[in-house]
Symmetry: C2
Subunit: 374 residues, 2 copies
C-alpha cells in the first residue's frame, strides 16, 4: 500500500483531507485539478493543472500512476476506461462513475434493482416539464448538478418558466421528516462496511448542508434499514471505494434514496474525529485492497460547514477563530481556498460532545461566532 502511486482527479478539500490520511501510509499522491491554486497543490507529490473533462489530459495524468481515484464525479470517464485498459487500477470503476453522472440513469438503476426511491418521470426539456408536471415536484438536471445546483422545486404552474430547459427528470416531491446519509465502503475482496447514519440539516437559502449530527436521531430499526439500503446499493453496483448515500426519511417512516456520490463526501467529515476510521482512510483502504477499518463511533459529533459569508468576496479572513479554538472538543479544518465567495465551502468545524444538548450548543456557538469574511 505504501508503494502505490495514487492519482486523484480533483484537488479540492476532499483531496486535501485524503492526503492527510495518505501521509500516514506514506503513499505517493498525484493530483489533477483545473485550478492552479487548488487546496491540494502544496501537498501533492505531483500537482498537475488541467481539465478533468479532457480525454488527453486525464489519460496523460494517469500514465504516471498505478491506481486512480476521484474526489469529484464530473470527470472524463472515457479516459478512465482507457487507463483501465492499459492495466491501471481505477476505483470507483469508470462505468459506475458514468452511471452516477447521469441522474436519470441513477434513478433507473434504483428502480431496476429494488432500491427504494421516489417515483419520477424523465423529461427532455422545459416544454416536456410543462406537459408532464403535477405539483409540487422536483426538477433535476440529468448532468452537471453539484452542491445544490441543478436541482429545484416546482411548486406550481407558475414555476414552469424556471424549469431547466435540458434533459432531466421530475421527481415526486418527498415531504420528508429528515434527510440522512450513510457512507458505505467496499473493497475488492467484497468486504462492506457502513458508517453510522448521519442526519443532515440544510441551509435554507444555499441548498448546502449547513450542519449534521451523527449518529442520527432515528430508531434502531430505521438505522438498520438505511445501512442495509446502502450496502445493497454498493453491492448491486459492484463498486470498489467509498459511496455516500443521501436518503429521505419520510413522515411515514419509510426511507427513500435521494442521491449518491461515489467518493468521500461532506456528510462524512465528522468521521475524522468522531469515528475510529475516517472516511478518507476508509476510501484508501478500500481501493488499496486493505482490510476495511472499524467504523465505530468514538464520540457523538456534529459538523458545521464554514461557508463564505454573504456580502464578502476576496482573500478570506476568519473572524472569531480564537474564541472557537478556546472551546473544548472543537476541531477546525480550513481548506486553503484563496478566495471566499458567498456560500463557498471554505472549511468545516467538527465538534464532539457527550450529550446532544452540548453538541447543539457548540454548533450554535460556532455558527454565530466564526465567520469567513474578506
Amino acid at each position: 500500500m505504501n508503494k502505490v502511486k495514487l492519482g486523484v482527479l480533483g484537488g479540492g478539500q476532499l483531496g486535501k483531507m485524503l492526503i492527510q490520511s495518505a501521509m500516514n501510509f506514506d503513499m505517493e499522491v498525484h493530483m489533477l485539478d483545473p485550478d492552479a491554486e487548488a487546496p491540494c497543490k502544496p501537498y501533492a507529490h505531483q500537482f498537475v493543472q488541467g481539465d478533468l473533462k479532457d480525454y488527453d489530459t486525464v489519460v496523460n495524468f494517469g500514465a504516471a500512476c498505478d491506481l486512480i481515484t476521484i474526489e469529484i464525479e464530473n470527470v472524463n470517464t472515457e479516459a478512465l476506461k482507457a487507463l483501465e485498459k492499459q492495466g491501471k487500477r481505477v476505483f470507483p470503476q469508470p462505468h459506475i462513475i458514468e452511471l452516477i453522472q447521469n441522474k436519470v440513469a441513477q434513478k433507473k438503476f434504483y428502480k431496476a434493482n429494488g432500491i427504494p426511491t421516489s417515483d419520477f418521470i424523465e423529461v427532455s426539456g422545459r416544454s416536456d416539464v410543462a406537459a408532464k408536471a403535477h405539483f409540487p415536484m422536483v426538477n433535476k438536471l440529468a448532468r452537471d448538478g453539484y452542491d445544490g445546483r441543478g436541482v429545484q422545486v416546482l411548486r406550481s404552474a407558475f414555476d414552469i418558466e424556471k424549469a431547466f430547459d435540458a434533459p432531466g427528470l421530475l421527481e415526486n416531491f418527498v415531504d420528508f421528516d429528515k434527510e440522512i446519509a450513510v457512507i458505505v465502503a467496499r473493497n475488492e475482496q467484497g468486504q462492506v462496511t457502513t458508517f453510522p447514519v448521519t442526519e443532515l440539516v440544510f441551509h435554507p437559502e444555499a441548498n448546502l448542508v449547513e450542519y449534521l449530527f451523527a449518529p442520527a436521531h432515528i430508531t434502531d430499526h430505521q438505522a438498520k434499514e438505511a445501512e442495509s439500503i446502502a450496502c445493497a446499493l454498493i453491492e448491486k453496483l459492484g463498486m470498489v471505494g467509498l459511496l455516500a448515500v443521501e436518503m429521505f426519511l419520510t413522515k411515514e417512516g419509510t426511507i427513500l434514496v435521494n442521491e449518491i456520490a461515489p467518493r468521500t463526501h461532506n456528510s462524512g467529515h465528522h468521521t475524522i474525529e468522531g469515528n475510529i476510521t475516517s472516511q478518507f482512510e476508509q476510501h484508501l483502504r478500500a481501493i488499496c485492497q486493505m482490510p476495511l477499518g472499524s467504523t465505530a463511533t468514538r464520540s457523538m459529533a456534529a459538523m458545521v460547514n464554514l461557508l463564505g459569508e454573504e456580502g464578502y468576496t476576496g482573500t478570506p479572513i476568519l473572524a472569531g477563530i480564537e474564541e472557537i479554538m478556546a472551546m473544548e472538543g472543537v476541531f477546525v479544518h480550513l481548506y486553503g481556498k484563496k478566495v471566499t465567495k458567498p456560500f463557498r465551502k471554505m472549511g468545516h468545524v467538527t465538534v464532539i460532545g457527550d450529550t446532544f444538548a452540548s453538541l447543539r450548543d457548540k454548533v450554535e456557538r460556532v455558527k454565530s461566532t466564526l465567520k469567513v469574511i474578506a
Copy 2:
C-alpha cells in the same frame, strides 16, 4: 494563524506530523533539513536542503518566514538569535534551546530552580571520570546526545575504558520503578497545559522507547506531582512552545527529572488519537498565540515504535501490515524514510482500547506481527 509563514528546523517525522496538523489551519510551512529525501519534503510549501548547524544556512532559511520553530534541538542557536533580532518570532526561544543542548547546563538549571533531579558531577573527559566515579553511575556527553546515543551506564571500574572522553557529567544511577513523561505547553499569554502522564517502556538493547501507555499507571498524587514539575519547569524557563519532560519514578515513589526536549516528542505521538488535542496541534497553538487546546484523554492509548528490524538495511518493506490493519482501533503511521536500518524509527503504531489488558494484547500483537524489513 492561517496567514503565518512557519519555518521549521528539521524535516523528519515530527515535522511531517506537524504539517498534518498545520494543514487543518492552512498554514504555510517551510522546512530545512540536511537530507534531500527527508520525510517532510513532499509536503512542505518550501523545502530547503541544508545544514541545521550552519549559521548562514539557518539565517537565510529564516528570512522567508515570520515564525520559526524546531523539530530537533541540535541547531545553530546563534542564527536563531540573529533572526530574533531581525524581528522574527522564534519559539522555543533560542537561549532556551541553547541551554537544553548542553546536558550539564540543563542539570545546573534544575538544581538552581528547585527542580528535583538526581545528583551529578561535571566531568571534563575520561580521566576525570576515572578520578570521580563511584558505581553504578550514568555517564552522559554534555552535547550531541540523541535517541540514546551519548548516554551510558558505568557499572564498575571495568567500564571506565568505555567512558566518553569529552566534557559531560556523571549522574547518580537512579534505581527507578518507572520512566514517565509529561508533555507541557505554554503560549505567549502564559497559559500552561499538561497532557496526562505517559509511561515509557524502553527497548533493552536500543535504548529507544519501545512502547508507552497513557495515562500512566501511577497514583493520582504522583501524576499531579509529575504535572506540577513539568509546569514549574516550563514556567521557570519562560518557554513558549511544547516541552517534553522525561522523569524517573523511583522505587521510593519520588519523581526526578531525567531529561527534557523543547519540542514535540516521541512520548506524545499517542495524543493524535488518544487526546482531544494532539501534541502537534498544541505546539502550533502555543507558538501562534492561540488558546491552548484541551488535553483530555479520549481513550487509553499505547504507542509502539516501529523500528527497523535487525539484519535489514535498504528500501523498507512492511511485513504483516494487513493483519495489523484488520485489528480494531489500530492506527498506523509510516514516516516515509527511504532506507531502513536496525533500530531506525520507521514509523509508529498507536492502539486504543477500553481496558489496559486489551491495549497490552494489541501492543504484543503489533510487536510480534509488524516488521520493517528490506
